[in-house]
């Protein structure tokens, strides 16, 4: 036990002290902060919307809709440099005006044009063509403005005072969504989905990166022949256990650092934004229970051991980096396969697919947390998932230990699958 502890300690300390660990651990929160602050900062700078002042309004409505639109657009945003140009045309000349403007837009004289006609006045449709067509916020703003102006015009036609009509149509409405579970309200749905996705992605990355780190570690010991000395002092199984736990500890440390940094940033988001002079909408963090935390820890531990043991076995089988790449591919496919289901599970966390993939031992560690964070998973399913995962984990460790024991001291050519199977049977 002391010897296994010595291995754990070496694996942990050597890795945690390495440059790359420090850089990666710091990089996570920096990336998170960037993702949080930069969009807010950018939207403040650009007004959040592509500049529409270069847009020409082609008015064929015969009711002055163009001027109203230009006024509304010019006053609606602080970022509009000028009132858009309005060209009033007869309904019959619209096609010609459009072809002229199309050429202008191509030559960058204008950025786009908006056609309003009788159909617009009837509340049916308007047409925009131009460079901002792919900018969702710009199109959104155009649509809202056109709708408001048309509504105001129609209200006036119905005999309502123009001032009142204008005020009635100025509705800067925003839809905020919140998630409700059996336990009650649980924070905003968007934040929650984002959180689940981040969590799954974090688990996925940790398993993939640290699994491969273990594989390389085993290869290093084999290539440098350090393994010869070590296994003369302690059983290969104890060495394997030490490596998996040591590297697992490193992965856990990194995740914990990231989660802590994320929590701090989310909690103090408002003061941080205020200090930087950015507007911040209040954000409700998902409410997470102790049970959720413990389950997450258990899932991560079992999942990590499952994959790490197998990666270590692969590392012990091969002699060169190239062989390792090849031999590790099936294992990586399993992890990646699990990651492919993050989004489908997120969209329908209670569906049949989600149920299945959160029971399979190789995808459960990544996908069960997604479900746990988004919906109330029945305890039967949680327990089934844990039992299957724990059993698979034990089996994986048993097989890996047998491959490892033989492979570690076997030099020369890469073993065939048949040979590896024999190691497992007779080791």
């Amino acid at each position: 036990m002391d010897k296994t502890w010595a291995v754990i300690k070496r694996e942990y300390l050597e890795r945690v002290r390495s440059k790359w660990f420090v850089i990666a651990t710091l990089f996570g929160p920096v990336l998170l902060a960037t993702m949080m602050i930069v969009p807010a900062w950018l939207s403040l700078r650009s007004g959040g919307i592509a500049d529409l002042s270069e847009t020409v309004i082609v008015d064929a409505s015969g009711a002055g809709l163009g001027d109203r639109l230009a006024d509304a657009l010019a006053t609606g945003s602080a970022r509009m440099r000028a009132r858009p140009e309005v060209r009033v045309v007869d309904p019959g000349d619209v096609a010609q005006a459009e072809s002229l403007l199309t050429r202008d837009v191509m030559q960058k004289v204008h950025s786009g044009y908006l056609v309003v006609d009788r159909e617009t006045l009837a509340g049916e449709r308007a047409r925009y063509a131009g460079r901002a067509a792919t900018s969702l916020p710009a199109i959104d703003r155009l649509r809202t403005t056109v709708r408001n102006v048309v509504m105001a015009a129609r209200l006036e036609t119905a005999g309502i005072d123009p001032e009142i009509a204008r005020n009635m149509t100025l509705l800067p409405l925003r839809l905020e969504s919140e998630r409700i579970t059996e336990r009650g309200r649980g924070g905003s749905g968007r934040v929650n989905a984002l959180f689940s996705f981040g969590l799954a992605f974090l688990l996925y990355m940790s398993i993939l990166l640290y699994g491969q780190a273990i594989m390389r570690g085993v290869m290093e010991e084999k290539q440098t022949r350090v393994a010869e000395v070590i296994v003369s002092s302690l059983r290969p199984d104890a060495l394997l256990a030490g490596k998996v736990l040591g590297v697992g500890g490193v992965a856990f440390t990194q995740i914990a650092a990231w989660v802590l940094a994320g929590w701090v940033m989310a909690t103090f988001r408002a003061p941080i934004f205020a200090a930087m002079g950015l507007p911040a909408t209040p954000m409700r963090l998902p409410e997470l229970s102790i049970t959720f935390g413990l389950l997450l820890l258990l899932l991560f531990a079992l999942g990590f051991i499952f994959y790490a043991a197998l990666f270590a076995a692969v590392g012990s089988m091969v002699n060169t980096d190239q062989e390792a790449q090849q031999a590790a591919t099936p294992l990586m496919m399993l992890v990646i396969f699990a990651a492919l289901f993050i989004q489908p599970v997120l969209f329908n966390p209670s569906g049949r697919l989600a149920q299945w993939v959160s029971l399979l031992p190789f995808s459960a560690p990544i996908l069960m947390p997604v479900r746990l964070a988004t919906v109330q998973v029945p305890w039967v399913e949680i327990i089934a998932c844990l039992v299957i995962l724990a059993a698979s984990c034990a089996l994986a460790v048993w097989i890996a230990a047998r491959i490892y024991r033989v492979g570690l001291l076997m030099y020369g050519k890469k073993p065939t699958l048949r040979e590896v199977a024999r190691w497992v049977r007779y080791a």
Binding site: D2, K3, K9, T224, V226, E228, L409, R422
Partner: protein, 335 residues
């Protein structure tokens, strides 16, 4: 490696085990070929024991079984009075593998602490011993402490010294060296030899494998020759040589005048001759008279510097006993 080395007093209360190692009827096969077959040998306490054999004879496999790295298919191995499977006995054995290596990115001192910890040496004791050994082997001088350097900053020779320190940190009673002289330059080979002699003087038991017969002949109290996985002979060096009789003549001549070769080709006189151009080790035929050989040699016209009835060299015994069946194809890797 300098010869002056440090050792710690052994506290083995009440232990009066005559033999450091006993191997009894051990057998191991890998995927179709037998690496070690029914091997039995005894290493007396305090001896320098040579495990000799050509490459692929099963030396490394035997050593790995002694260290409990691989498990024999059959047979019993007793190390320092305990079954080799007893994990406690591990801490009293030191092992220097043939293929040497260390964690390249780690600092020397950290590697040694780790190797010490694997043998149950606590941090304080390890640090003290590491410093002592670094001093002794010239890896720590007032100008430079290589203990703080990373392993891959060290020269190959220095890395070998570090690995040797790792073998000795827990002051093992039984030291097992697999081909300790392979890859050493003459200076380090000499130092390694001195170290082995020193270990013996301090009461340690040393088992080493080699395919260099001369080295073994000069150093070993006991030898065991194995070939193709089976024991050819074993025993105390003196008795091994005595049992091969005095049918050997050492002959040294001056220059290359005369026709000595036709004399040596006479099967009535000479069973085998090992020609070193000016020195010959000659095994007499059954019933041949050494006097007759001397007369014939003088008649051939060469000047004789030395003509002596000697015990055969280990090399001769090896050639005689192992001969052509020395190396089996495809066995390397389990030396």
């Amino acid at each position: 490696m300098r010869s002056r080395a440090i050792f710690y007093a052994h506290a083995v209360p009440g232990e009066t085990i005559p033999n450091a190692l006993e191997i009894n009827g051990v057998r191991k096969s890998f995927a179709g070929h037998v690496a070690v077959r029914d091997l039995s040998l005894v290493v007396p306490r305090g001896a320098v024991y040579g495990l000799l054999g050509p490459n692929g004879a099963g030396k490394t496999t035997t050593i790995r079984m002694i260290l409990n790295v691989i498990v024999p298919d059959a047979g019993v191995i007793t190390v320092l009075g305990h079954p080799s499977t007893d994990t406690q006995v591990n801490n009293r054995v030191g092992y220097l593998p043939e293929e040497r290596g260390l964690y390249r990115k780690m600092k020397v001192r950290s590697v040694l602490r780790f190797l010490g910890a694997l043998k149950g040496v606590n941090r304080r004791a390890a640090d003290r011993r590491i410093d002592e050994w670094l001093d002794r082997l010239g890896l720590r001088t007032p100008d430079k402490d290589w203990g703080d350097a990373k392993v891959d900053e060290l020269s190959r020779g220095m890395q070998q010294k570090v690995q040797f320190i790792g073998t000795m940190l827990h002051d093992p009673e039984l030291v097992i060296l697999d081909e300790p002289f392979s890859g050493l330059d003459p200076v380090n080979a000499q130092a390694m030899k001195d170290t082995v002699v020193d270990l013996r003087r301090r009461g340690h038991t040393v088992l080493f494998s080699t395919h260099l017969m001369d080295q073994a002949e000069r150093m070993c109290d006991n030898v065991c020759i194995i070939a193709a996985g089976a024991k050819v002979l074993d025993g105390e060096m003196g008795s091994v040589k005595a049992s091969h009789g005095s049918r050997t003549v050492a002959l040294a001549v001056d220059g290359n005048a005369g026709d000595i070769r036709s004399v040596l080709r006479d099967p009535r006189l000479v069973a085998r001759a090992d020609d070193h151009t000016r020195f010959y080790e000659i095994e007499l035929s059954d019933g041949a008279d050494p006097q007759e050989l001397l007369r014939r040699v003088l008649d051939s016209g060469v000047r004789v510097n030395r003509f002596e009835l000697v015990q055969p060299s280990l090399h001769q015994i090896f050639l005689e006993r192992v001969g052509a069946r020395g190396v089996e194809e495809g066995m390397s890797g389990h030396g």
